[in-house]
Symmetry: D2
């Protein structure tokens, strides 16, 4: 059956062409990202356990979770926890099928501990975090559906996913800046830089302004002078990095709320603001391409933790970005493309109600590329279940 | 100082003109709406308590919270709870200022209980819900800022709000359908209709299709025949209602996942799916105009629970919708308007970095209305603090 | 089969004959008593629900629970809660038998709320208490045993119960003093007297000294003078009461830790110290006769919350006191009697391994009364299941 | 000031002379012992932290805590967790003094994790246990008292402690049997033997019957035959051990509730019944000498977790046993001694209101030993604060 693919000239103004562009990324150690990361990792581990036991991923949606900030007393060179961070894991997952059981709570708690230790290097998870799982069993009907369902799964809902390409200069700068500061080599060289890095990028015509909030780690910062030096270093590093990405002028401001004179600055014990009362929820941070882009097409769906099989809020968002990326890579004439996939509940996910591509070409000519775009979309929908594998085995990001 | 107000011809296709339009509303008893409602009510009660004690609303952001679904055993005519619903309240709120204390936890728990009883009439809150507050104290700096800050508050963040008007036919149908079914008179006449009503509206060209999920209440439904009769009644009622709102053809489907033959239908003890494992999080449901509108401009910000003074994610979203509404009401030529307000952290919120109106007029003429639009925007920003009052005293919705 | 009943001359010194006697009672509003009371009430309500549904009391032991103290700010005339009291209900109870379900969590939470409201009149349970149930399902084997077990249940364990009679003067003074201050008429006349009343009675030869800790309720005490007046009134009331009970000299000291000069006195919002951080656990307070009597025979078993059918730690303790009471009532020659019932796991509870009575008579003659004592013990064991009824329907205390 | 030491001829029948004697020990992995152990370890670690920071142990009483059993699915050779064990830590502890802070929650959580790993070798604490601390801050008054109090602390309450010596044959058999099975060498040789070992010893005249419940560990037991073989080995080992301790006849019964035919036997994943729903509370298990001895003098006080400085319920119980032990060791004529120490609230703990020794000598002569006993009691009270050190540094048991 042929797919309902609509390709049209985009009637929108691409973000990079707007006068003002706003982009944000909440880094790995931000409370919203922490809980996105934990729940997504749990979904991946559950998926692998299901595959292992049943040869299929069974029903789960662990796309809810909460970080409740703790309390710390921090000073240059050290500090301590007053109140632990509390993390609530929730959602639903299949615990039993075909007479076999999957230790969902065990996997959830083990994964949460393991993930946290990697994501926030200086957090003593055992002593300073309380983790509670309220993940409950899914419905029996859904167990059957996932076990004995069709080869191409049916959409769980009438919903849609959207994605675009390419990233604008601003988007690339914001994304790569956080990835750089949170990379292993950077952390090895600069242990004082915590994982809670929030970058707000604002482009006003041709000038980019990055406002960077970095949680420094107290035990590696011994006094206010060192702190200031470290801040300048980050600024310099990000300016150097930006020059490799864009030719626009880039200004970088680090921890603008600091009051250096009164030594009231952004230092933490652990490198995450979750230690000091900042809460986080699944789905309140980055979209699947790692960014919050208010002037781009986005969905509200929290992808993290959703089942990667038939949850349109996850699969179609990941797929839309992937398709958009392929289109701009393979068709040089495309300046900007926005993909939207609209599902129909209960219909195979390779047959969306509408798959639409809104395209802006460099030369204004659309007819020449239409077939090519159609082919890419069609092929990706044909192989829609590959998106599931990419998600489970970590080949794509979801936050 | 004059405001940076930009008024331009909209380059977008208004949602009602698209071939396909998708609109969703999660009703009052939906788990996401329940927790939105609780946290927003807590914000309002805290605001009133602060006003009462200090003459000013103090810092709080109780915009995080989680409903973890319970477990029930339901049958026609009755049933019982196996596992209570668990509700986690979180966020931050000022507990102390000027030597006076505000009993934040007391207000939070009392408000949560009271709100739940109203929002889900058939829920025995004492026996079937566990509520826990992990709301923690806000930082001392922010206490000062709110107490002795300027008359026009400074934006808490670089962020933006957006709103549009008018509602499309589909949007009005979806919104009013839920409001009708959850109105006091309707509930009095039809006690079997629970508050968890989720309406998905899809317009395909000129045909509207409403997919309505209604949690029926078991003690008022005695057998499968009665159930089916009740479903038809809702369908008929919504078709009648729709005819008053739109001239488009409207089809209504209620509880499409039912398997009537096997008596596997959507009945609940309480009228909310939260009783059976469905979770809810703040900010995962309706936007401030009560709808989820993927083809309209939206922000990810969860308005519910945020402080109504300087949190741009709340104030600017409410204000944008309000401005847009005023524009279409006062200027008949305007067919569609989208307002976007971009804040600058630390700057007065009546001075956004950009206030933009993208306008589509009925006759294509923009010059004639520009001054009028400018005036409306300017006046609203001038009186920005009125938005705060409207929120606190319940004159506007936030979810 | 004849019972192994041993009656012998007591080799111990009865408590009232010791030089020093120590007796304590933790009143209804003491944190340990609060949780004893809640869990016992839950056991009673579960028992009734089982009787109702199955005609038999099914397996449960909800004899674990915890009150974690809250936080309040109190002043003469008022105050408020800073942190709610947290109450954890735990233990095991049968949720399912013969295809029917008992809503254990619903009963537990509802009962806990209801009991608390009565036991601590001035506590706003909804706003200032968080209650969580972690009661879990019992094992399937035990369901069968209770459903289809023998008419006389088998002992759940090798354990023992013990009781004595009569109460000494000191014991009666301590017990009745608390009961008086917590009686409805007294509360009606003296609303300032909270339910958390702890009485420590010390008899040194012929002088009795009562040390009484009373949580006053702030909204009924307007200043330090009133407070002092109220304290004296309690002292006077208890001295009057004591005179009706004993001819020994009785001194009464109320709230000895008060520092009246600095207005540091024992006032509370609610009448229980649980509001200010004092914790309580099941089984850490009064024994089944309502007293802690270190110089009497006691068991460590927490009776509250245990199943009243075959849990020796509950049934035998209640029965031992009951038998002892009957013996002294019916046989005037008996000065003091201590009953000990030792069970054998898996044997009918009307056939203890040993039922022993240690008796001290007024005239030193034992032979005359032996038959009579034997008869009373034998009859009570014969009708052992009546103890269950007395417990379930509140005819005997268990704490 | 001379102490009020009363030495008299015991009027009681020593337990070993009774016809029937009952003794119980809940081993290290029993849920009651687990939580006793955790809270006592927290008290010790807090004490060390206070000593380190302030040179004095500050106020704390972390003598409340709860283990809520989890859920497992177990089979020969393996199994998995369905529901984690939940552990609640509660009580009060000083967090701040002299401007310095002690990270109480951090110490509590870290200690609980560390202790659990040692006490239950096969428990994967991270994945299968949820630990929550609700330990709250103590009152400011008590901080001062502990910091600047007198050299000999004042009793926190009017209460008493009691102890006796020597252990009877039955007591030694019960105590050493558990210690043997839970010793490192035994565990190394017999990894299938879990730490949850409950021993009930009953002596009926000259015959001792040990009823031993041992939680076997499934991964080390591959089938029912192996299980039965392991049970017999334990029986044989305990009979051998008993022969070294007593000349009485000893019978040993292991896991009497097993139904071998139906393979319904006592195997666990972890070696503790807490994995399968069994709850534990502080103070509901062994007394300070490691035993529950209903026919001996005991107090209800939970020693575990109490502050070892001035909490009479801890210090006087430990000291009474220690004194009794010294008396029988140093004075061969003493057959049995029971020590009782009665405190007076607010008086120095080296000056109890009464220190009484009830003594039974082998030859019936008391006068000869009185001075010696008096000297031992007096010396121990003189050096009462040494008991504190013994407790903190683990030289004595408290459960």
């Amino acid at each position: 059956m042929s797919r309902n693919i609509i390709i049209e000239k985009g009637s929108y103004l691409p973000a990079p062409k707007r006068e003002v562009e706003l982009v944000e990324r909440k880094g790995l150690g931000h409370p919203d990202s922490i809980i996105d990361g934990i729940m997504e990792e749990i979904s991946k581990e559950l998926s692998k356990a299901y595959l292992n036991e049943f040869g299929k991923i069974l029903h789960h949606n662990v796309d809810k979770g909460q970080v409740c900030g703790g309390g710390t007393e921090v000073e240059f060179g050290g500090g301590h926890f007053r109140k632990p961070i509390y993390i609530l894991l929730t959602g639903r997952a299949t615990t039993k099928a075909e007479g076999k059981e999957i230790p969902v709570q065990h996997i959830a708690l083990k994964t949460a501990h393991g993930y946290l230790k990697k994501a926030v290097r200086n957090l003593d998870v055992e002593a300073d975090v309380e983790i509670e799982s309220r993940i409950s069993d899914g419905s029996a009907d859904l167990v059957e559906l996932f076990l004995r369902g069709p080869k191409v799964p049916f959409a769980n809902d009438t919903s849609f996913g959207t994605g675009y390409a390419p990233l604008s200069d601003l988007e690339r700068v914001v994304l790569q800046a956080e990835q750089h500061l949170n990379s292993d080599p950077y952390k090895a060289a600069h242990p004082e830089v915590g994982e809670d890095i929030k970058i707000m990028g604002l482009r006003d015509k041709d000038k980019i302004k990055l406002t960077v909030a970095v949680a420094f780690i107290s035990k590696f910062v011994h006094n206010i002078d060192e702190y200031v030096k470290f801040k300048w270093r980050i600024r310099d590093d990000l300016i150097s990095l930006s020059k490799k990405i864009t030719q626009k002028e880039v200004e970088v401001f680090v921890n603008t709320a600091d009051d250096v004179e009164n030594k009231s600055v952004y230092i933490t014990l652990t490198g995450t603001s979750a230690e000091m009362g900042d809460d986080g929820s699944v789905g309140r941070g980055n979209r699947v391409n790692g960014l919050i882009t208010p002037f781009r097409s986005m969905t509200l769906e929290a992808a993290a933790g959703k089942n990667p099989v038939n949850h349109v809020g996850k699969v179609y968002n990941v797929l839309s970005h992937d398709i958009a990326r392929q289109i701009v890579e393979e068709i040089p004439d495309v300046e900007d493309v926005t993909i939207t996939l609209l599902s129909q509940i209960g219909k195979p996910i390779d047959q969306p109600k509408v798959a639409s591509a809104e395209i802006i070409t460099k030369d204004g000519n659309y007819d020449r590329i239409k077939d090519n775009v159609h082919y890419i979309i069609d092929k990706n929908l044909e192989n829609v279940t590959e998106a599931t594998n990419k998600i489970v085995f970590g080949k794509v990001t979801v936050f």
